[in-house]
């Protein structure tokens, strides 16, 4: 054991295939954006026992995400998802919606809750309410700076998860942007969100995944890992949804090595091959501004700033 946890999110068997999970300690299964994502682990409940068992056998923790914006009609499925995740032995449920957190509590909390990116955790008081409802971990909203996260972690009595790399979740909607017809009849569903679609305007680039808006640039805290370690953070996420297997494998390997060095203490310098991998997998550039209280698309740092035209 190395005293920290590196997590990757993986939506489906299609995303899992070819991904080298060796750098990771835990995998968060499923897409919170859309129930129609092909093979979505949060939807295809019969897949859960097998994948959870395989992850456990490989010495990894298995978390299962839940829909980020469940309407009334989705709640019966959410109930089944909670039961299925518990029966499969999942180590936690990732929850974005307060109603889902309440449902989990009503079921007696058969699985611990991790509050996800869309749970709008901004204050330690909110995190405390969620803790009392069964959450043991929170991922603060993207807008929450590292400085604020440190206060939140200290005051709330829950673990705090930090997104260290990947597209930043910026918004959810329950109408798919990529379809012209209703979901059930549009032949573009479900393949459309498996393809890459950017939204560009002026100097802005976003990534649309149909029912989600992500940052165009990739969040990157690689050169700031020593600070994260010093601040006491121990749970780190690489956002692997809608990325390639090479992305998840190579970025994971970089962070595993970099985290080991950061936790070892002493001098910390970025290896060229780490920086190269970060640049190679970020066709629209890197960013980390939210972590430092600036616009999310900006980059704060001295090593990888060349991967962002606006530093």
């Amino acid at each position: 054991m190395h005293g920290y946890e590196l997590i990757v999110s993986v939506a489906s068997p299609g995303e899992l295939e070819g991904t080298d999970l060796s750098p990771y300690d835990a995998v968060c299964l499923g897409s919170p954006y859309c129930r129609r994502v092909e093979g979505n682990y949060a939807e295809a409940l019969d897949l859960l026992p097998g994948v959870v068992s395989r992850l456990h056998a490989a010495g990894k923790r298995a978390y299962v995400t839940t829909p980020a914006g469940p309407r009334e009609a989705d709640l019966p499925h959410v109930g089944r998802l909670v039961d299925a995740a518990a029966a499969a032995g999942a180590d936690a449920l990732e929850i974005h919606n307060m109603g889902v957190l309440r449902m989990l509590r009503e079921k007696g909390g058969p699985v611990p809750a991790h509050m996800g990116a869309y749970a709008n955790v901004y204050t330690h008081l909110a995190a405390g309410v969620m803790r009392d409802a069964g959450a043991v971990r929170v991922r603060p909203n993207a807008e929450v700076s590292l400085e604020e996260m440190a206060i939140l972690a200290r005051e709330a009595g829950v673990e705090v998860e930090v997104l260290v790399h990947g597209k930043i979740p910026l918004g959810i909607t329950d109408r798919c942007f990529l379809l012209t017809e209703p979901e059930e009849s549009d032949p573009k569903c479900p393949p459309a969100c498996g393809e890459v679609h950017w939204l560009t305007s002026r100097q802005w680039v976003l990534k649309t995944v149909g029912k989600g808006v992500l940052s165009g640039r990739d969040m990157c805290l690689l050169e700031h890992l020593p600070r994260l370690v010093a601040d006491g953070f121990r749970v780190f996420r690489i956002e692997g949804l809608y990325e390639t297997a090479a992305y998840r494998s190579e970025i994971g390997a970089v962070y595993r090595e970099a985290l080991a060095r950061a936790f070892a203490g002493g001098s910390f310098a970025l290896e060229d091959r780490w920086a190269d991998a970060a640049r190679r997998h970020a066709p629209r550039g890197l960013c980390n501004g939210y972590s430092f209280g600036t616009a999310g698309r900006t980059y704060v740092g001295t090593v990888l700033q060349d991967a962002n035209s606006e530093v």
């Binding site: 914006g69 307060m98 901004y122 909110a126 909203n141 959810i172 976003l206 999310g296």
Partner: protein, 317 residues
């Protein structure tokens, strides 16, 4: 009968809203609501608005519906303490932690869970009820079946926005604006207004409303000038339904609009609701449409200008 709640972006707007028939008006405490400071009020103005409301036998609600920093919680407690001491009892909040803290400190406060809570199902409504809210705002696209279920089973008041916008994303769960531009502006009290973040009390630059190109993996343009739909709506046809189903509050959003326009909107809804209640069986919408269309046209013109200004501002360095 359903309460008509209107926006109060200034003292002048508060008076106009009450004088045109609002039963209640909401105002934002400076730095603590989902609009910029020019549409919010300091404590002295809030107290004045509260007096005006009381003198008319009506209600003033004060919005503290942002998601602040943990370090700002003491500021929140001090500010709400001061307003409580001045007689304010009705608050609109988003953060469930702040809700519980305020309710524990002042049990006789009346808390409403803001539209920023993104309440989209009955379990959400129950969660915020348990956090201390006696009323919840329905997410703008909430279906009637969900509204009915909340009314029938949740034991919590329901508020429906009849004039507002349906953001491209779920309102309260969007950070597209601050992704493009985000800053800090700390006022004399120590409160950061977080310009660029509507969730935190700044403003939304409405970047969804600019023209976007959809671009494929290899850079090919898949669609040009696409919009990320964010439409202002003005519901009138639903009013009889909302009344029939016991919706507690019918809300008109719009602190950023001009005072005369807000006054006309409030008068329209007041007249419409009263006509509907007076003669439910004989009520018809058709006679109202022309008057409504004129208001909507003026509203759209103001919104267009405002949106262009916000997008332009988002590009300033």
């Amino acid at each position: 009968m359903a309460e008509l709640l209107a926006s109060g972006g200034s003292m002048e707007m508060v008076r106009a809203a009450f004088d045109n028939g609002a039963d209640a008006v909401y105002v934002g405490a400076t730095g603590w609501s989902r609009r910029r400071a020019e549409f919010e009020m300091d404590d002295a103005a809030i107290v004045e608005a509260q007096r005006y409301a009381r003198s008319a036998g009506k209600i003033l609600r004060v919005a503290f519906n942002t998601l602040p920093a943990s370090s700002e919680v003491p500021l929140f407690m001090a500010r709400t303490d001061a307003l409580y001491a001045a007689g304010v009892r009705d608050f609109i909040l988003t953060d469930p932690g702040l809700m519980m803290a305020l309710k524990n400190r002042h049990p006789d406060t009346i808390l409403h869970a803001s539209v920023g809570c993104t309440i989209i199902n009955i379990q959400d409504a129950l969660f915020y009820k348990e956090a201390g809210a006696s009323q919840v705002v329905a997410e703008c696209r909430m279906g009637k079946a969900t509204m009915r279920r909340i009314k029938a089973e949740a034991g919590v008041g329901l508020e429906v926005l009849v004039h507002a916008t349906t953001c491209y994303t779920l309102l309260g769960r969007c950070t597209m604006s601050s992704y493009t531009k985000h800053g800090h502006k700390v006022d004399a009290s120590g409160k950061d207004h977080f310009p660029g973040s509507p969730n935190r009390g700044g403003l939304c630059y409405r970047i969804c409303l600019t023209d976007w190109d959809q671009v494929g993996a290899t850079g090919e343009i898949e669609a040009s000038g696409v919009e990320l739909p964010n439409r202002a709506y003005f519901l009138a046809d639903d009013i009889p339904y909302l009344i029939d189903h016991g919706v507690d509050t019918i809300k008109i959003q719009g602190r950023e609009y001009s005072v005369p326009l807000v006054g006309r909107m409030v008068r329209f809804y007041r007249d419409l609701i009263d006509a509907c209640v007076r003669d439910r069986a004989g009520f018809r919408m058709d006679p109202w449409r022309e008057r409504m269309a004129r208001i909507v046209a003026d509203r759209d013109a103001e919104r267009r200008d405002k949106t262009a200004g916000l997008i332009s501002e988002s590009l300033d360095r």
